[in-house]
Amino acid sequence: MAFAAFGSTAGPVEQAPRRRSWVALVLLLPGLAYLALFFLTPLVSLVLTSFQEPVEFGDVGQFQQAFKIENYATVIEAYWPHFLRAFGYAIVATIAALLIGYPLAYFIGVKCRSKPLLQAMLLTLVIAPFFISFLLRTLAWKQLMADDTPLVQALKSLSVLPADGHLTGTAFSVIFGLTYNFLPFMTLPIYTTLERLDTRYLEAGADLYASPATTFWKVTLPLSLPGIVSGTLLTFIPASGDYINASSSFLGSAQTQMVGNAIEANFLGLLNYPEAAALSVILMGLILVIVGIYVRRTGTEDLL
């Protein structure tokens, strides 16, 4: 299966032999050309666009190249709450997904090892959401959380929710949606590391006077760290750039808009390309900084 894509660098560090490098060049060239043309150049053009200024007396959406650095000041001033929400929601959703996904991955990867059929079945259930449209799943939650559903009624009767309160359109529902949508991305890489975890280390822990809880903290958790790091990255990065969950037609409202929504609205709605580009550049930069710090702090640079 394709789980390898979510795993950490598998197996021992391979020592690639030194061979005729022109063969390597032939193999590399098409892919690299594609990346240069459709990944690097767009990033450059995004940066260039972010400095553009409107054409004088031009139509909406007409811009010319300039060095209008004020675009950045403008978007930061206008959209700083969107950034805060994006990263705030993404962090909370990542933590929630970790808390849900880790025990699930542990159960499937370690506890179900003696029953391969059950293990395969449960794993299929974890990836099952991938097989059904992301948008429809999110809409399903919207409808399950709508004001007149039994769930909301029950919460109201228990006074968890005020009588005039809503579930949809709140920070809660957006974070809920983000957690839900990226949970498999959290669970799978953790599963891959835990599935390979040698239970003899746990026996060694028990042999050396460590209680099950201590063994978990001192042995299991550190050994599954690569999976946790990949999982949190695969959750945090898309969550912080997401604009579906926070959109008003899905689980969000005007009060829950994230940076993604601002980029989408500026680019596709207002045709304000420079500001959309500036927002994208800032978002990308912030994510790279956060990811860089995170990876360095957890000491897993060699994952990349």
Partner: protein, 399 residues
């Protein structure tokens, strides 16, 4: 074990009526065993004989189906693994890959809150002469070094009982010898009780004070290595611990201190005190190196057994000795180990030969003959390979 304190000395280990059943098979059947404090005890047996299960039961990594385990007189049967005064040197070493050598060795001490864990860990590493590598990660060490770290990690806790699960299995022959000596030295130095599980008979015999040979979940025979070797009581022990020539026949009469057994018409004497049974059909045996090879019929003499004539069917030179196979009509193949006192073989392939041995070297087994293979040749490599394959297939089938 109380936090912050070491065991003063090794403790007795007592297994009482131990049973362990897994779904589909019984690993251990009614095992009673006492290992005195301070001894180096080896459990020897082929794979699947239940020796590793016994070790895991003692370590608390498995729960017995029934029976009791006592360490130093205290019942620990229901005590969780991490609370037992026992440490294990695992077969795979199981060194934590994310910790340095030093962190590995001090792990147990820290869990028990023992003062100066790092200092004591360094001390243990000095004992195995690896203190200079204490900052390395386990995967940066060689197999032998990892084994020594695993040993230090267990010994540093001064457990009342140290369990060794074939820890030398992965090492090459030379390193293994060196480790065996080192282990023995450490045992003498720290005076703990060692329980060593192995399938290597030579390892068991060189290292242990007492060896117990295990087969099919039960102990076949137990004793000092020399005793086990010189006087095996069952065909299994006779063939698992070294090689034996075994013959089956009826006891015809007794003659002084010996019984006389009729082996295909030849009268063979076995000392009464070296035979487990004195009547009926019994299996007797003699070690190949106790046999003398003759090219002419030897003169009959009191206190000497003679078989022959036969034909030499195989001669293989192995350095110190030469192994001969002699086919004796009506009896089968007899193996002889002869010291290489002269250059070249004493007899040549196809030659006529006789064998003789002193009556005192023979032994009589306990087994019912119909259950025992008649000749030692049954345990050749091909048979063992076949058996292993059957076991493996059964295992795969189960999984």
């Amino acid at each position: 074990m109380a936090a912050g304190a070491f065991a003063e000395a090794g403790a007795d280990l007592e297994l009482v009526g131990l049973h362990k059943r897994f779904p589909g098979f019984t690993a251990i059947e009614d095992l009673d065993l006492t290992i005195p404090a301070g001894s180096f005890f080896a459990l020897l047996g082929p794979s699947g004989c239940g020796k590793t299960t016994t070790l895991r039961l003692v370590a608390g990594l498995e729960q017995p189906t029934s029976g009791r385990i006592l360490i130093g007189g205290k019942d620990v049967t229901s005590v969780k693994s991490f609370k037992r005064p026992v440490n294990t040197v695992f077969q795979s070493y199981a060194l934590f890959p994310h910790m340095t050598v030093l962190e590995n060795v001090s792990f147990g001490l820290k869990r028990r809150g023992i003062a100066d864990a790092t200092g004591k860990a360094h001390e243990a590493l000095r004992l195995v002469e690896l203190d200079h590598l204490s900052a390395r990660k386990p995967q940066q060490l060689s197999g032998g070094q990892q084994q020594r770290v695993a040993l230090a990690r267990a010994v540093v806790n001064r457990p009342a009982l140290l369990l060794l699960d074939e820890p030398l299995g992965a090492l090459d022959l030379k390193l293994r010898r060196q480790m065996q000596l080192e282990l023995k030295a450490i045992q003498n130095e720290v005076g703990l009780t060692f329980l060593h599980v192995t399938h290597d008979q030579e390892e068991a015999m060189t290292m242990a004070d007492t060896v117990a040979v295990m087969n099919k979940g039960q102990i076949e025979q137990m004793g000092a290595p020399e005793e086990l070797y010189e006087l095996p009581k069952t065909a299994f022990v006779a063939n698992f611990l070294g090689q034996s020539n075994l013959f089956t026949g009826d006891v015809t009469n007794s003659k002084g201190d010996s019984i006389v057994v009729d082996i295909a018409g030849v009268k063979i004497e076995v000392p009464k005190d070296r035979a487990q049974r004195h009547t009926g059909e019994i299996t007797i045996g003699v070690r190949p190196e106790k046999l003398m090879l003759h090219t002419e019929a030897p003169k009959k003499a009191p206190g000497v057994n003679i078989l022959g004539p036969g034909r030499v069917t195989d001669v293989s030179f192995s350095g110190v000795s030469t192994q001969y196979q002699i086919a004796v009509p009506g009896i089968g193949l007899i193996t002889v180990f002869a010291q290489n006192m002269v250059f070249g073989p004493v007899v040549n392939l196809g030659a006529e030969a006789w064998v003789s041995w002193t009556v005192d070297h023979g032994f009589g087994l306990l087994d019912e003959p119909e259950h025992t293979p008649k000749f030692s040749a049954d345990t050749d490599t091909a048979t063992i390979a076949l058996q292993t394959r059957h076991e493996l297939l059964a295992e795969i089938e189960e999984a």
